[in-house]
Amino acid sequence: MISGMDRLVAAAKGETSDRVPVFCNLIDQGAKELGMTIEEYYSNGEYVAEAQLRMREKYGYDNLWGLFYVGKEAELMGCGKIIFATDGPPNVGQMILKSYDDIDRLVVPQDISSHPAFQEPLKCLNILKKEAGGKYPVCAYVTASMTLPAILMGMEKWMELLLTGPAAVRDELLEKCSDFFKKEITAYRNAGADVIIYANAFGSTDFVPMRMFQELSLPWMERDLKPVGTDGVVYYCGGARMNAVLGQVIERLGLGTYYLSPFDDIAEGKKIIGGRGLTCGVINDIRLIDWSKEEIRSEVKRMMDAGKPGRKFLFGTLVMPYVIPEENIRAMLEAAYEFGGLGGDDK
């Protein structure tokens, strides 16, 4: 039996397997699977692990998630207020940085692995590794130094500091966020995560002008990643586009996998990457809410046709909205398994 890990490894090497690997990011859906509220679901790492394993089994895709919600990172940095919804992801409900002085006072936890807010995710990762380690890649989500301030002070305040604030304050914050990043990625790796989604909306020129990308985003990404290495790290701009910066990111950072935006041209992205890494074509999963089966099929086919030639291709979703009907999830996956088939002759 070919496993998700076999498929992923084959794709990364440009070798053949039965089909293109499929990453389907069902996160909050685990609560529905276990018949719980979302708040109850995230209170225990055993629940999350169990639902992750069940959903993968039920649908047959290739990855598992150790992510609870991105707001966890704010909790690790001292945020005490998370707002739980009944039908969507939890959100940070309180910004821990209200003034520049707060930046000065911000303390990065010494050790993430022993932090109280990390214990449930750790429990979850341990179970996933025990049950599926080596067979299905276990994914973790870690926010880059340039983007983390968005959930510590809010996007508006961060943009303001970045664009018009004092450079020394900005750099002090980035330094702390980069320190946190390195500790967090290490904790996830120690817990057994195989794939690290390196999330950086500010690594896209949809967010910052090219010059700022080159003068600030790139150097800070280098500072995040150089000391900890790029093993298993996936470049992801939160769904924002990356084709315009791919060449520079590959040259400077040399990451192995690029998780495009639904609005990036897949064939163009693959061409720029040019065999230097794995390209992930990403579906606009918000449309799965109301697309018909036929529309879903033809979109998946279009994406596979664009990405499959030359192999080194992965099919993925963003953060799948909670309201997508189960039958549409199945329609997408069935189409991905069918059109992602790697016959012996399509080299």
């Binding site: 919804a85 969507g88 959100n91 918000i286 909205p321």
Partner: protein, 220 residues
């Protein structure tokens, strides 16, 4: 005037706030009318910027954000110097939907609206549906603008759908129009119909135009 426009546009494009403000200050010192600064320099510059976003999509959100902020700042300053108080086009209450703490979109939209002489009442983040309606009534606003960055806060029962229901119950649908925006609507341009909004807009300058249209419609 041409040089002022070109220099200002470039400063905005470079996301250089200090340079943009300096150009305006010098123009005023050289006797350019405050009215001309707003209507011939600031507003057209916003349009050029946003056009870049939708046509080639190579203008970043950072530039967008600064352009709107500077526009609001300069407009406020200039309006105080207008010879005749400008006619306010109308009023809008704006906020993020309940459960949504993403405030950047709202801020950009508000900046653009202010430059277009539309009064903005900012209700902040995480706004319950009843409050949108109550505040719109209290301020005599013609438009409720709701920003949502996530699917569940856009489609959920305490978002736009509820605002629509309350407007209907109170018989206010002819007096107050609803516009929505944010990431989910950009990913699916049909979504605004699902939440029964009157309109949506994909960026701030389009929002300004659409809102101006809605206000006109109500006032007729």
């Amino acid at each position: 005037m041409k040089e002022i426009i070109a220099a200002y546009n470039e400063a905005i494009f470079d996301a250089n706030r200090d340079r943009a403000l300096k150009i305006i200050r010098e123009a005023v010192d050289n006797g350019v009318a405050p009215e001309d600064i707003v209507f011939k320099v600031v507003v057209p510059a916003l349009e050029v910027m946003m056009k870049g976003v939708s046509e080639t999509r190579n203008v970043s959100l950072a530039q967008h954000f600064l352009a709107a902020q500077i526009a609001a700042e300069v407009t406020e300053d200039m309006v105080a110097r207008f010879r005749k108080a400008p006619a306010v086009a109308g009023s809008v209450v704006i906020g993020t939907s309940q459960g949504d703490f993403h405030g950047l979109g709202k801020k950009i939209i508000s900046g653009c609206l202010k430059a277009l002489m539309i009064e903005v009442i900012d209700l902040g983040l995480n706004v319950p549906p009843e409050r949108f309606v109550d505040e719109a009534v209290a301020h005599g606003a013609q438009v409720i603008a709701i920003s949502s960055m996530m699917v569940h806060t856009a489609l959920g029962e305490n978002g736009c759908l509820k605002v629509r229901q309350i407007l209907k119950q109170r018989g206010l649908e002819d007096k107050i129009k609803v516009i929505v925006g944010g990431a989910p609507y950009r990913h699916d341009p049909n979504l605004y119909k699902v939440v029964r909004a009157d309109a949506w807009a994909e960026d701030a300058i389009t929002a300004g135009k659409v809102i101006a249209g809605l206000i006109k419609g109500v006032r007729k």
